[in-house]
């Protein structure tokens, strides 16, 4: 029975996936066709070259060089990323609560919303309840917030200096 030879894709399918990837008819053709077998052999030899390729040698002290650079570029502790938003949140909430007259700031709209939802009262009452429950003075909360902000800034400064970056807010 006359049959066309295998094409390049089929040779590669055969070498990648084995005989079953060709199907019975093509596999039988391959068994009996010297021309196709020669081409498969050439592809197989090329595969062997590709698999045994060398010439990617890094220097002997590659790992040591990386470690030196790593020491200059320290890894940031992931939990520190929580510090920044937490510090900002505490600072903003504290400032708003103690120093800003929200009803004046938001004007009539704020008062309307507050009166409709009762949210402002709820928030203020919750904060008051929390502070009283924890037996905390507002000044203590302020001090804690301030310390957190200072810590975040110092950490940022220290980290940036260790990285040797000139820009503070890189």
């Amino acid at each position: 029975m006359a049959m066309t030879h295998l094409n390049d894709e089929q040779f590669q399918e055969f070498l990648d996936g084995g005989r079953q990837s060709l199907g019975e008819r093509l596999a039988q053709h391959l068994d009996g066709c010297p021309e196709c077998r020669l081409k498969v052999a050439a592809y197989r030899a090329m595969y062997r070259r590709l698999t045994n390729d060398a010439g990617f040698d890094l220097s002997v002290d590659f790992a040591a060089s990386v470690m030196r650079r790593v020491e200059l570029a320290p890894r940031r502790n992931p939990w520190l990323w929580v510090v920044y938003p937490a510090a900002a949140l505490i600072a903003v909430v504290t400032a708003l609560y103690f120093f800003v007259d929200l009803s004046g700031t938001f004007g009539r709209l704020g008062q309307t919303i507050s009166s409709i939802t009762g949210m402002e009262n709820a928030v203020v009452n919750s904060l008051n309840g929390l502070l009283e429950g924890l037996n905390l003075k507002p000044s203590l909360v302020l001090a804690a917030g301030g310390m957190l902000v200072a810590f975040a800034l110092l950490e940022r400064l220290f980290f940036t200096l260790r990285r040797g970056k000139a820009m503070f807010f890189a």
């Binding site: 390049d8 590669q12 595969y47 390729d53 010439g55 990617f56 990386v66 890894r75």
Partner: protein, 190 residues
């Protein structure tokens, strides 16, 4: 995977020896990608180091959603892309190289019979791989040298599996065609 996780946890806990182990484990993969993508030999070592520095700094963000090798490969691949972009070197030059004629691909030093001298077959093959389009080079390398699947290669290069397979087949066909245009098959494939 569990071993990788344990190793990464040790690194995150500040064990620098663990990161040296990590480098030893993955430097082969990184060098394969960097060496295949970057032609400038002087920059390869430096770039490979940068890949590991980047990995070290980003290790805490790794969520084990893929294999560590795939993630390392991706970092290396994109670091090289950034480098090439900075150097204004097109990686994704035409992928239609397979349409070149034999005249286009034959090298200069041919013998009277039309074939070049085969001195070091491995070197010749490597040279021809270097002449393939960038994506082909990376795919061939990851598949044959690092024994990665189509899916893993696709994850590294952000390509669909079908595209990876298609590029791999075209790359090997093109490579064989170019080599056989220059060298006698019996010398080349002995």
């Amino acid at each position: 995977m569990d071993q990788d996780r344990a190793l990464i946890e040790r690194i995150l806990a500040g064990d620098t020896a663990a990161f040296t182990e990590f480098i030893a484990q993955y430097q082969r993969l990184v060098s394969h990608i960097v060496y295949r993508m970057i032609d400038n030999a002087a920059d390869r070592e430096d770039l490979s180091q940068e890949v590991f520095v980047g990995i070290y700094r980003g290790l805490a963000e790794f969520r084990f959603e893929s294999k560590v090798s795939t993630w390392v490969g991706r970092v290396a691949y994109y670091r090289c892309l950034n480098y090439l972009e900075k150097m204004k070197t097109p990686l994704f030059e035409d992928l239609s190289g397979e349409d070149q004629t034999i005249d286009d691909v034959a090298g200069p030093a041919l013998r009277p019979d039309g074939y070049a001298e085969v001195q070091d077959v491995a070197a010749r093959v490597r040279e021809e791989i270097g002449g393939l389009p960038g994506q082909y080079r990376v795919i061939v390398t990851l598949y044959h040298l690092d024994e990665m699947s189509y899916a893993e290669i696709g994850e590294i290069m952000k390509l669909p599996e079908g595209t990876v397979k298609s590029y791999l087949f075209r790359a090997r066909k093109l490579l064989k065609k170019r080599l056989e245009a220059k060298y006698r098959p019996e010398e080349l494939w002995r």
